[in-house]
Subunit: 187 residues, 2 copies
């Protein structure tokens, strides 16, 4: 039971995503995930706290990457440019379009997962605002820049996982930032 | 039981808000709310579907008001100005600062209520984007303007319910819009 299984985590994740997509998240058990991956339930729980964590384990790293990039952006950058530097880093984390697409379909089909996703984004926005305040940005500029950053990410992400989209996430986020600049300027 | 009770709805709402605030939402029963209001459980359920509805019944009217105002804004207005017209209407709906303040404290103390609130805001944003597309605004401008509108509302609302804030919600939303314009312009 305790022996090393080559790429157990990746196999479990792959098996879970297939089952969540085919049967639905609620209809899938950990026993079935382990079986499909050719592993034991015990191995599953060595890698993931529960079924949900298979979908959300990357959120912490994403938030850390975003916050570090914004905190470490050149001091002379205004809040929106610092946020843009953070979005570039997020773009680096998210490269696997097909995986993101499947994950999003699973989440959209399940109200509880969708709620968890919204909580995650709200917490990302709060962490971002906090980081901006740490750069000396006052309120409400800090919260508004943070919210704008999350909006840009959400809107670009939705486009990125669109069936026919070929541009990468970074490019779409840059375009969304330009578009937000244009709409707020009233052009 | 079926007789008319003067202002039953208002008395039930008042009793519920007091109990949610004092004991917590989960620790309050419908029987207790009815008792404090001097009414029956049956009367409660003639006015509210459940305990949560006491906190969320206004959301539908708010969304309708916002959507109508944006849909009916002068055709020559750009998306952000149309959203601003909608925010003015929201400002008209939300006048009772003390009630909003207490409601927000109740919601912030309960993860399930907070999730419901986030879902409500996401649905407001989606309805707003849809309305803007109906005005001929293309994507991603429609979604970004809608998200910006909701961000302005959220940030201004948080300030409005602050303990020492005296400006009204409309004024705070106007200021937040100006501030968003400034940060996105990089000033």
């Amino acid at each position: 039971m305790g022996r090393w299984e080559p790429n157990a985590r990746g196999r479990l994740e792959q098996a879970a995503m297939e089952l969540y997509g085919d049967r639905g998240f609620d209809q899938t058990t950990v026993a079935e995930i382990a079986e499909r991956a050719g592993l034991t339930e015990r191995t599953f729980f060595r890698h993931f706290a529960d079924k949900r964590e298979v979908l959300f384990w990357g959120a912490g790293a994403l938030q850390d990457g975003l916050v570090s990039a914004v905190a470490g952006a050149p001091a002379q950058l205004g809040p929106m440019d610092a946020v843009a530097a953070g979005l570039e880093v997020i773009g680096g984390y998210m490269q696997e379009r097909e995986r993101s697409r499947r994950r999003q379909h699973i989440i959209a089909a399940n109200p509880e997962l969708l709620e968890r996703e919204l909580i995650k984004l709200a917490s990302l926005s709060a962490a971002l605002a906090d980081t901006l305040r740490g750069r000396g940005v006052t309120e409400p500029a800090a919260s508004l820049s943070a919210e704008a950053g999350i909006s840009i990410f959400k809107v670009a992400f939705e486009r990125w996982i669109g069936e026919t989209e070929e541009r990468d996430l970074r490019q779409l986020m840059r375009e969304s930032l330009e578009e937000l600049r244009a709409v707020t300027a009233g052009r």
